[in-house]
């Protein structure tokens, strides 16, 4: 682990609205782990999924503007984003811009040409690879003992593997290992990389009710008290839409859906406000109250 970890940070649009708590917990956890996040000045939307469904040059230009801005930053080792959809766009653009012909087409749309030189990583990948579960363990302030979680990665964090180049594409384990490092227990969850319904919540809510419903059912069936995610869209579908899902499927889930950064933060002794626990739709408090207090004291106080 290098002594200084400095990154260009791309929060993504949802960080300003529906996933505020992912953003604030990411910033807090990274700071606690010695990772310096420098927000890309005046970053704009990467195009998310809508742009590539219209045209790939448009999509790469929207993502590319941000890559170009990051390239102007001093002394950063990579671009980090918490959101897998942003990650996919930034990574796809970086890969495609390697082709000079395509790059020329994209640059026609941009004010400042983009070179796509910086690596792009998810916050999950950076915490897992650049810090690592073993370095997290000694920093634990409160062990999450007794907390049973279904780890859900979403469909595009690891796929396609050649592009995402991180963890296993059928059975990713990075989040499991981080949760394990802070004392929580992950249950078997075979739908780790199944799609939750993505951005169809508005246009085709029935799809989200069906696909996210299956995820909640399996998590409950396998004994999880809560789910842990790394994607703003997955979290929103499972948490904010949980009542809609329950109504459509005649279920009665009350399953908190955490961002992995919220749980890491809790274990590292960070405040609930910073972690945005109060911003979750399904209250996490009954589940959090159940965390056993064994080993809380003394074991590696916050540095």
């Amino acid at each position: 682990m290098s002594s200084r970890l400095r990154y260009a940070y791309y929060p993504g649009c949802s960080a300003l609205g529906t996933s505020k708590e992912y953003d604030s917990s990411t910033r807090a956890v990274c700071e606690a782990l010695g990772m310096e996040l420098v927000e890309i000045p005046d970053w704009s939307c990467c195009g998310s999924s809508p742009a590539h469904t219209v045209d790939h040059r448009l999509s790469c230009a929207l993502a590319g503007r941000n890559l170009a801005l990051a390239e102007l930053m001093e002394d950063v080792s990579a671009i980090l984003t918490p959101c897998p959809s942003c990650l996919t766009n930034l990574k796809t653009a970086s890969a495609k811009l390697k082709k000079p012909e395509f790059a020329a087409e994209v640059n026609k749309l941009l004010d400042r040409p983009v070179r796509a030189t910086l690596p792009v990583k998810s916050v999950l990948q950076a915490i897992h690879e650049d810090v690592g579960p073993d370095a997290v363990r000694p920093k634990v302030f409160k062990w999450l003992t007794g907390l049973k979680l279904a780890p859900y990665y979403g469909c595009i964090m690891n796929r396609p593997p050649e592009l995402m180049a991180f963890d296993d594409h059928e059975n990713p384990v990075a989040m499991d290992q981080l949760m394990d490092a802070v004392g929580a227990e992950t249950v078997s969850f075979p739908l780790k990389v199944e799609c939750c319904g993505a951005s169809y919540g508005v246009a085709r809510r029935d799809i989200v009710e069906n696909l996210s419903g299956k995820l909640l059912d399996l998590a409950a069936l396998n004994g999880a008290q809560a789910m842990v995610t790394a994607c703003p869209l997955c979290q929103m579908n499972l948490d904010l839409r949980q009542d809609q899902i329950n109504a459509a499927n005649r279920t009665s889930h009350r399953m908190p859906v955490f961002y992995f950064t919220q749980l890491l933060g809790l274990a590292l002794g960070l405040g609930e406000k910073e972690l945005g626990m109060n911003k979750l739709s399904v209250s996490p408090h009954p589940v959090l109250a159940g965390i056993e207090s064994v080993g809380t004291a003394g074991k590696g106080a916050r540095q």
Binding site: S44, T53, P161, G201, A203, R204, L240, N278
Partner: protein, 186 residues
């Protein structure tokens, strides 16, 4: 099941065009069905994804550009990841949707409206503005009750801002869209 007269509706140019735009060789597909087996959207598709590939090989342009599946594909990458012939199937689906759009199809009007509202919001503010996007979607589709039940869950948590978070210079992003349209795109 629809009966399709393959010979009278075959369009070879279409196949070549899809291959060119996607960079994928469509003839490599040997119909193993892996893509369909893993596709979480098969239950809402009118044509399962391996059949999309088959109809593509047979040059069935009209059937494909007017189908629902290409609008409902969520780009989840399951098919691409699991295709034994390394075909980037999700990319093919994306390209078919680009073509459908260019030719004026909107088979899943709600999905198209959502995409349009999203991009309009980005063009205006430089960033996606969730509340504005919802309002514009409602105006386009007339679906007034869309997600009103979510507002009480979001407003007190300060998650649904009534104002956009603009970038400093939204024109820089608007110009990207403008130049894109100048090249004849819609």
């Amino acid at each position: 099941m629809n009966v399709i007269s393959l010979s009278s509706t075959q369009d070879r140019n279409f196949v070549a065009q899809v291959e060119k735009e996607s960079g994928q060789s469509v003839s490599q597909c040997y119909q193993c069905g892996n893509c369909t087996a893993g596709c979480p959207y098969t239950s809402v598709y009118d044509i399962p994804v391996h059949q999309v590939m088959r109809l593509l090989q047979a040059g069935q342009k009209q059937t494909l550009l007017s189908c629902r599946s290409i609008w409902l594909c969520a780009s989840c990458q399951s098919c691409t990841t699991r295709c034994p012939n390394n075909i980037d199937v999700a990319h093919v689906m994306d390209v078919l949707r680009h073509m459908a759009r260019r030719e004026g199809h909107a088979t899943e009007y709600g999905v198209k409206s959502f995409v349009d509202s999203f991009l309009a919001s980005v063009e205006r503010n430089g960033r996606a503005f969730e509340m504005g996007l919802l309002v514009s979607y409602i105006l386009k589709t007339g679906k007034f009750w869309t997600d009103v039940d979510l507002a009480p869950k979001m407003l007190p948590k300060n998650k649904l801002s009534p104002f956009p978070h603009k970038v400093k210079n939204p024109e820089a992003i608007a110009k990207i869209f403008e130049r894109f349209r100048q090249e004849g795109h819609k």
